[in-house]
């Protein structure tokens, strides 16, 4: 078993959930999302974010608008759509259950 691979798989599973969570706080553009994810040490390389955002958008969970920027190129600001919000709340429930379950098991073994 490759430890890095296992870690990546775990991170992968929660990454979509986290992106949606970050966006639930309001409209954000990729750089903000990256910063937050990096702060939480969830994201190692930025390149991973862009395919995910595109996919979530294509599935109708996110939407975006262009915003002019004074210092650089225009930015894409992403927000959650209604179905994105529903999706997120479903994920939250599932995550909480999972987290409880994992905690229980960890506590027993400890």
């Amino acid at each position: 078993m490759d430890i890095e691979n296992s870690k990546a798989q775990m991170r992968k599973g929660v990454l979509e959930f986290c992106i949606l969570s970050v966006l639930s706080g309001g409209e954000k553009y990729p750089s903000d999302i990256i910063d937050e994810l990096k702060e939480a040490q969830l994201l190692i390389v930025e390149g991973t974010l862009y395919p995910l955002l595109t996919r979530l958008k294509n599935e109708g969970l996110l939407t975006y608008r262009w915003v002019e920027s004074s210092s650089g190129p225009p930015r894409k600001y992403f927000t959650l759509t209604d179905s994105g919000k529903n999706f997120l709340s479903e994920l939250e429930k599932a995550y909480n259950q999972l987290s409880e379950a994992v905690k229980k098991i960890l506590n027993k073994t400890l």
């Binding site: 390389v45 930025e46 390149g47 650089g72």
Partner: protein, 570 residues
């Protein structure tokens, strides 16, 4: 001092130095290759370019206006190498696929990691088109020089044919243009590290090249492309001609086959029955023969067509395999029939029979063919006529009967007939012999024999032959009609065949001879005895000629010509 390039990323202009540009463009290219989903790729790439633009514009200021290697390294570090991204991306894609397709998700990623060698022309170490250099990379030969020398030798011995081969390779094999191509050409895996290595190598070569004058290279390159264009045009022209010729041949075969099957087949069918055991076999082998000839023609046309259309010879796998297997099948059928037909000729048999004949009234016996009027009576309807074979209602006729003369041991004429034929085995051959039909009619001083080999209906062609042996007594003569083959085995000497048919052949002193015939033998004798010798010396030429009667020497010197003649009086 470094050269810079103007680019725009995400709608913003940037100035970037050459080295950094190469690395950046390769990085972008390798990212593109990693995103397999076509629809999402362009959107992802534009998002990434916007991000790059943002990062670069943050890093640059009034004092530093050019994007350099450090910036590119930074952006690659930030965004991640393609391998690092790929791991994450494909996992999500696999999860998607797993809902619909549980299996077959690993193959793509593993395949993309495997490095396969590909055949490219190498523009960097080329002399002419880089074909040989490319082949050397492909087969892992380090020193191209020897291959080039071998090629030149081959070119010489093949009278330039290999030049054509070379040109074809030049046209068909693509040039290694991108860094990825060059890596594949060398059989190295395509990833960011190897590309970077390749870029650095190319740059160092380029700086070397800058020190040399560039003009010659330019001229050679232009000349090369010019030759290539001419050669391409010429080859296309050839391809068109080959296509048209093949088309005509194919068309011709088809039309004549169609015409033949309507007009000629009923009559020809009789002939095929002579050789084939059944008409169906004949039809099958005719089709097979057509396939054996037609398929390569058709395939050639197909290749020409692809070449004319796309400047490349395209081997479509399915078509090639179908054509090849069809061809092999047809060839096998022809082979099978050839063998089964040849089998019918395996065993030879012959059968000799004495025929009782009346002695002629005079001293001369005239041997003539059976009256043609009677023949046409017998064969009321001549069904077909092809070459030497004649098919009639009752059977078929072919070839010539042979008349063989021999000296009679008593004072009477005797006649013998020998029939021979081939067959699968001895029994079969004998059966075929029994189907041979011979007749003879005797007059006062004439003997009429069937001059052609006649075989009853339902017999097959089995090399049937008829030999009449006529024993001629001492002092008597015969005259053999020219319709027969005359066997001269027992003759005293060699005679001219035409002479023999127009003169009497008689037995004198226990030997077959032809008194009035020209003596072929003696003519050749004198020729054989004659001898001419030429001697060419430093200052003279001597010609010596001699035969039975005379010896002549001619000597041509610098001043004198000497002619000597000696008669042999023996």
């Amino acid at each position: 001092m470094k050269r810079t390039i103007n680019i725009h990323l995400g709608g913003m202009p940037f100035i970037i130095d050459e080295e950094a540009f190469d690395k950046l463009s390769n990085y972008i290219q390798s990212l593109k290759n990693r995103f397999t989903n076509e629809q999402e790729r362009s959107e992802i790439m534009s998002d990434i370019e916007y991000r790059m633009a943002e990062v670069f514009s943050k890093r640059l200021d009034k004092n530093r206006q050019v994007v350099d290697m450090e910036d590119v390294d930074f952006i690659i570090f930030q965004l991640g190498k393609p391998e690092e991204i790929v791991g994450d991306v494909t996992v999500t894609e696999n999860e998607n696929q797993q809902q619909s397709q549980p299996a077959s998700n690993q193959s793509e990623t593993t395949a993309s990691k495997n490095s396969t060698k590909k055949l490219f022309r190498d523009p960097e170490s080329k002399i002419l088109g880089g074909v040989i250099a490319g082949f050397c990379h492909y087969f892992g030969i380090k020193e191209a020089l020897w291959i080039r020398l071998a090629f030149v030798v081959l070119l010489w011995f093949s009278f330039g044919t290999f030049l054509l081969v070379y040109l074809v390779f030049w046209l068909v094999i693509p040039e290694a243009k991108t860094y990825a191509d060059k890596l594949q050409m060398k059989g190295e895996p395509v990833n960011l590290d190897t590309i970077e290595k390749e870029v650095k190598e190319t740059l160092s070569r380029a700086t070397d090249a800058i020190n040399k004058p560039l003009r010659d290279n330019d001229l050679i390159a232009k000349l090369g492309t010019l030759i290539l264009m001419i050669a391409k045009g010429f080859l296309k022209f050839v391809a068109i001609i080959v296509f048209i010729i093949s088309l005509f041949i194919l068309f011709g075969i088809l039309v004549s086959a169609a015409g033949f099957s309507v007009i000629g087949l009923p009559k020809f069918a009789v002939f095929t029955q002579l050789i084939f055991n059944s008409h169906t076999y004949y039809i099958i082998s005719a089709i097979a023969l057509f396939v054996v000839i037609g398929v390569p023609l058709f395939f050639l046309m197909y290749l020409c067509a692809t070449f004319i259309a796309s400047s490349k010879v395209v081997f479509h796998k399915k078509i090639s395999i179908t054509a090849a297997s069809l061809w092999v099948l047809a060839l096998a059928i022809i082979f099978y029939f050839s063998i089964s037909i040849a089998n019918n000729f395996k065993s030879d048999e012959s059968q000799t029979e004495k025929l009782s004949m009346l002695q002629p009234a005079g001293n001369v016996l005239y041997v003539n063919p059976i009256d043609s009027v009677q023949l046409s009576e017998r064969y009321t309807e001549v069904e077909a006529f092809l070459g030497d074979i004649m098919v009639t209602e009752n059977g078929f006729l072919f070839g010539r009967s042979t008349v063989k003369l021999a000296v009679s041991e008593d004072s009477l004429f005797h006649l013998e007939q020998t029939l021979s034929a081939s067959g699968r085995n001895r029994l079969d051959a004998r059966k075929q012999i029994n189907l041979i039909h011979t007749r003879f009619i005797q007059g006062d001083s004439s003997l009429e024999l069937s001059e052609r080999v006649e075989v009853f209906k339902n017999a097959k062609f089995r090399n049937q032959d008829v030999v009449y042996t006529l024993y001629v007594p001492q002092g008597k003569s015969v005259k053999i009609n020219s319709s027969f083959n005359l066997d001269m085995v027992n003759f005293e000497k060699e005679f001219d065949e035409e002479d023999l048919s127009s003169n009497l052949i008689s037995v004198e002193n226990g030997k077959l001879t032809c008194a009035k015939c020209n003596d072929v033998e003696e003519d050749t004798d004198t020729m054989e005895d004659e001898e001419i010798v030429q001697i060419i010396n430093k200052d003279s030429v001597v010609i010596k000629s001699s035969d039975k009667n005379e010896k002549v020497n001619i000597k041509i010197g610098k001043k004198v010509i000497k002619i000597e003649s000696n008669k042999n009086d023996k």
